[in-house]
């Protein structure tokens, strides 16, 4: 049970973060309702930036597709690390066989990496 209890701290952390976010949003609302803060709306107050440039156009911008491409490659190598992790933890028990297996695994992905590199997948232009 103590194993699960450790997760209680994560749960506690989660609760605190939610409460913190909610209170910071709610405090001005409550204070306004109580009359502590005067309510005087003006266009300047509701502008996106009180100082600096006005924004132009919509907030919805179409992203460059290269971001997506990099995200795809990131995902592949992210999964590789997922496999590396338990191997590293169990390394003592696995011996030479486990090492060879992982060398093959990483070797195949090195081919993928080399290929992506040579095909200029990591270059912006």
């Amino acid at each position: 049970m103590s194993f699960l209890a450790d997760y209680g701290y994560i749960g506690l952390f989660f609760v605190v973060s939610v409460v913190f976010a909610l209170t910071t949003v709610l405090i001005p609302q409550i204070l306004t309702a109580l009359g502590v803060i005067p309510s005087k709306p003006s266009p300047a107050k509701s502008a996106t930036y009180e100082c600096g440039m006005d924004t132009i156009g919509k907030s919805w911008v179409q992203f460059n597709f290269r971001y997506y491409f990099l995200a795809l490659l990131f995902l592949v190598f992210d999964i590789e690390t997922v496999f590396l992790y338990p191997w590293a933890v169990a390394f003592n028990k696995l011996g030479l066989f486990g090492f060879v297996e992982m060398v093959i695994f990483v070797g195949i992905l090195v081919v993928a990496y080399l290929y992506a590199w040579k095909k200029k997948a990591f270059e912006w232009k």
């Binding site: 081919v111 080399l114 290929y115 095909k119």
Partner: protein, 482 residues
């Protein structure tokens, strides 16, 4: 020694990696095709060298028996014909020839693993290796149709994979193992559906997931669009190797894990019998009205999946007929594979010249390309199931297996369907031989493509005239069961 047992698959995977690396170095991309074919031939050689060995490796997950080796040879041979037939296609690949060959090799590797593993996680992941390579290949041309084909295949394929893996999870949850032998040990102790309904639900999900791969009704909706839009060599590969791999897995999983308890095997046998009847009827009836030859062959491939499922039904309903039905399925897959590859190779050559897949544009083709037309006509006759072709023997042989299992009604449905199919296959032959050609220009085709067409037509003829040599081999094929 496990590396020797892994030979066919390992060799192919190494060649796939080598093709990728070689692609970075060489300018002359034709070398890659030759190199890939060498790898595939090497893999066939390794399979033949292992022929007769019964071995298990890698924690009993990989099994080397004649069944696995038969499929290894079948997939590699299909891949060779597809690569030969792709030579006229490579200009359209927009500088991605290396990837094209590498992905074909990777898909083949995945299929080989599918046929030779008996553990659900390995089955799933090798199936995904095959599927992902094929999704990419289907969208390879990057024009509107091909992209649509790739996307549709990816989306529907992912859903079916999800269903499949959910079914595997249910089977694992109720039997406590992913290894087919362990599953069988758990199934052995059950006496009926009421003992474990969740297991039955898992099996139904497995049928749905695998059913997508072999394109049985009602999971066939992706077939026409994907077959039409994908590059034609890839379509040929999909319709032959991918389907055969699906059957290879189904037969092994359903026999080894669920096939030796009569109450269970009779339920899935009946399920496959009903699906077979519906699938062949839907495929054949819808094929009648097709005007595009690739769509026509797409529906025809659905119909043939229906015929082959008769073999599965026979195994399920009468376990004693296992040897005959299994041999029937294997022979049918070999015969159908050669036939369909031949038909698609002829179509590749013709549409490369005319730029059209419409059946109307095949009018009078015999005067523009007599050899190609003869090849296409011959393979279409084999698809119909008329002598002296592989299709004829395969149908008789498989129908006989179904009869021995007491499936008279299904055989009658099959015969009626063959009659329907004769109408639309022979209509294409008639168009080619009796129509007026739109132009008199002769068609040209490359050497490798002609070699591939000749090889598959001779194969079809050989299986049709001297079937006994091959039937002796398929009847000797057994799988190792634990």
């Amino acid at each position: 020694m496990i590396w020797a047992l892994l030979g066919p698959e390992l060799l192919l995977a190494i060649f796939a990696l080598a093709v990728i690396l070689l692609d970075l170095a060489v300018k002359q991309k034709g070398v890659l095709a030759v190199f890939s074919i060498v790898g595939l031939l090497g893999s066939i050689g390794a399979s033949l060298a292992l022929w007769g060995t019964n071995g298990i490796a890698l924690n009993n997950m990989l099994v080397i028996d004649k069944y696995a080796l038969f499929f290894d040879v079948l997939f590699a041979a299909a891949a060779i014909l597809v690569i030969l037939a792709s030579t006229d296609y490579v200009e359209k690949l927009k500088g991605f020839q290396g990837e094209y060959y590498a992905l074909i090799l990777l898909a083949t590797t995945g299929m080989m693993f599918m046929a030779s593993t008996r553990e659900l996680v390995s089955i799933y992941i090798s199936l995904e290796l095959t599927s992902i390579s094929l999704y990419i290949l289907a969208g390879f041309l990057k024009d509107a149709k091909s992209t649509e084909a790739g996307l549709k295949y990816l989306l529907l394929g992912s859903v079916s994979s999800a269903v499949l893996v959910y079914g595997m999870a249910l089977v694992f949850g109720t039997t406590g193992g992913t290894h087919l032998g362990v599953i069988w040990n758990a199934v052995k102790g059950l006496n009926g559906i009421a003992d474990n309904p969740t297991l039955i639900m898992g099996i139904v999900f497995l049928v749905a997931g695998f059913g997508f791969k072999i394109a049985t009704v009602p999971f066939q909706m992706w077939v026409p669009d994907v077959y039409e839009g994908a590059p034609t060599p890839v379509t040929a590969y999909l319709s032959v190797a991918s389907k055969a791999a699906g059957f290879a897995v189904i037969l092994r999983v359903f026999f080894e894990a669920f096939g030796r308890a009569p109450w269970l095997s009779q339920s899935w046998g009946m399920l496959f019998a009903i699906l077979a009847a519906i699938t062949m009827t839907v495929g054949n009836v819808v094929a009648i009205n097709q005007t595009n030859i690739k769509r026509l062959l797409a529906y025809s491939s659905i119909a043939h999946a229906g015929y082959i499922m008769m073999g599965l039904a026979a195994v399920g309903l009468m376990e004693s007929q296992l040897a005959l039905a299994r041999s029937g399925i294997l022979f049918y897959l070999a015969g159908y594979g050669l036939t369909n590859l031949g038909a698609f190779i002829a179509i590749i050559a013709i549409s490369n010249n005319t730029g059209s897949d419409l059946i109307d544009d095949y009018k009078g083709m015999v005067r523009r390309a007599p050899v190609l037309s003869l090849g296409l006509a011959f393979t279409l006759i084999s698809l119909t199931g008329l002598p002296p072709t592989a299709g004829f023997v395969a149908k008789i042989y498989l129908f006989n297996a179904a009869l021995q299992s007491g499936l008279l009604w299904l055989v009658i449905v099959g015969v009626l369907n063959s009659v329907i199919s004769a109408y639309y296959y022979l209509r294409v032959v008639k168009t080619m031989y009796l129509g007026e050609p739109a132009s008199t220009e002769r068609l040209s085709s490359s050497g490798p493509l002609r070699v591939a067409l000749t090889a598959s037509c001779f194969g079809v003829l050989f299986l049709g005239v001297l079937p006994n040599t091959v039937i002796q081999v398929t009847e000797a094929i057994k799988f190792l069961v634990s």
